[in-house]
Subunit: 339 residues, 2 copies
């Protein structure tokens, strides 16, 4: 059992819980023998969902949690007061070393706060960033930080750049990943106060392959592997990606329904188009890790279906095998010692 | 001549100057008798372009300018040193009251700096915002500010909200336009320091119809008419709109070329699709005004073609007829007196 990857999964989190969450867990263990999933949540509900499937029973354990943290609840209070919630119990499994990772599609705020308060930051890490992968023309880039830590300082952004590079190199297999900072122009003198102060720190840092500023226009084209920004800007980028994508696809579909000619055409292009657009769907890329903690915490979309849950659980295995936690700890501690 | 709308046009600005700029000017005066265009730039080049067209000659005047400000030049120096450039000469025509508006597809920085330094701010205006229209599912929204004034203060954002409302109500005919502030969640307690400080100012302001926060995801759906944000975030939104749109359309096209079946379908949907996507093309919406100056200054895309130049010139007429300058002056001065 010792080389098993143990993943605590919030069975009650997200719009499609527990049905799609449990289904995703079952699909993950059907795919991979080395994973054990701890389904955290209301035991009755979880058992009911599980009864629909055939699966290797020794790869599943149910951890009963009587409470659920709702999305609208203020995160700090929720973490403090709902000790028997699926999020608090799941995070405690990671803290205690009983699980390697915690995955949740529930309240972002509660996962971010709980991750820091319960699992705790790795030595030297000032702020743990939330780092989703976003689709580009060339594959995917890591957008770091999209978390709840707004009003960041230059030293935080430097750490994001290092942690993001470790992630892209070891999880995504990108050799010497290109790091860029989100800016409003390509020239070095452009930007707001934060970017101007951060730019020289990134430029001088020997641990990363810094290529300079990136304008938002060039992000979807895949011109950098690690996109560094503070959380407010990161959140705007992530959400606008979803929004512009959804609106454009709606427009394309409506445009195809305007005449008989185009309706016939639509039937013919539909399968090919569906395949292509899938590659540009944020949910295909699984959850976003909260980097820089003492254990792995991953937030998946609130709207997660089984496929995203399954992919996220499988990613936890790579995360452990590549020892991302250890690599980040070494990098951050080395930087602190060098100060 | 007194009720003519006189527009100074930078004939040398942008990627397609002078050809497309001059063409746009000709198309504008062919459409509208009440417009006179002052083509500012190298006389020889302008005459050569003009010679290709038939047009009412009394609606065009050439103002020779021997210099051109390049996009890469530091704006402040360029404005100071190139007194005989098309941008400086054009802005001076507005300052002197000889023209009602200046339109340029040239260096954004030079137009923004020159607008403030040469034309000057209207009384009470702390910062003139650059405010482009962006396409949405329902039509268009005003994104304010996308300019070069990063690190804004709450009082600036309050002024942006007021100026944006005046624009949308009087130019776009939106009654009681909905104003929202870009935020990372819908709840009032969310946001960075700037948003948290600005939120109550917007809520208390009686001159606007403030509907609260807007997440970037909801911008393309058209959930607000005036989208208030500081310039760094505004620039990221504007550029990402372009970037995600361009990448998705490229993907859709590539997807249609993957099989014989889809290629035939593509031929059938093409005309309808082209028409629909046109409505989502930023360039269809003309230039972005720099609001809050003593005269009208409009920045069009660097890649402007004749149609954008023409539309922008025609918009200048509405801007004058609706006396936007006067309305902004009254609103800003009233707020200052009330302090």
């Amino acid at each position: 059992m010792s080389d098993m990857v143990k993943v605590a999964l919030d069975a009650m989190g997200g719009d499609n819980a527990p049905k799609e969450i449990v289904k995703g867990a079952v699909e993950a263990i059907q795919t991979e023998k080395k994973i054990k999933v701890y389904l955290v949540g209301k035991e009755d509900a979880i058992r009911r969902e599980l009864s629909a499937y055939q699966y290797p029973e020794d790869q599943v354990e149910i951890v009963h949690a009587s409470e659920v943290i709702e999305t609208a609840e203020p995160p700090v209070n929720a973490i403090r007061n709902k000790k028997d919630s699926s999020i608090v119990k799941g995070l405690n499994l990671v803290k205690a070393g009983e699980c390697d990772a915690f995955v949740s599609a529930g309240s972002s705020g509660a996962v971010l706060v709980g991750g820091q308060v319960i699992v705790g930051r790795s030595k030297g890490v000032e702020r743990p960033p939330l780092a989703p992968l976003i689709p580009t023309e060339k594959g995917a880039s890591l957008l770091i930080d999209c978390g709840a830590n707004v009003d960041a300082r230059p030293s935080h952004l430097l750490q994001f750049a290092k942690m993001g590079s470790i992630y892209m190199e070891n999880i995504m297999g990108v050799k010497n990943p290109r790091v860029a900072i989100v800016n409003i122009g390509a020239e070095e003198e452009k930007g707001n106060a934060l970017v101007k102060e951060t730019f020289p720190l990134l430029k001088e840092c020997k641990d990363i392959n810094f290529i300079g500023s990136i304008e938002a226009r060039d992000i979807p084209a895949g011109q950098a592997d690690v996109i560094v920004c503070e959380a407010f800007v990161g959140n705007v980028i992530l959400k606008l990606y979803e929004g512009v994508g959804a609106t454009l696809i709606k427009k394309v579909k409506a445009g195809m329904m305007t005449s008989l000619r185009s309706k016939i055409g639509a039937l013919l292009v539909k399968p090919a188009l569906k395949q292509t657009l899938k590659a540009f769907d944020l949910e295909e890329y699984g959850g976003a890790p909260l980097l820089g903690l003492r254990g792995l915490v991953v937030k998946t979309h609130g709207s997660s279906k089984a496929v995203e849950v399954k992919n996220t659980i499988l990613q936890c295995m790579t995360f452990k095998e590549q020892d991302i936690i250890g690599k980040i700890r070494t990098s951050m501690a080395a930087a602190k010692d060098g100060e």
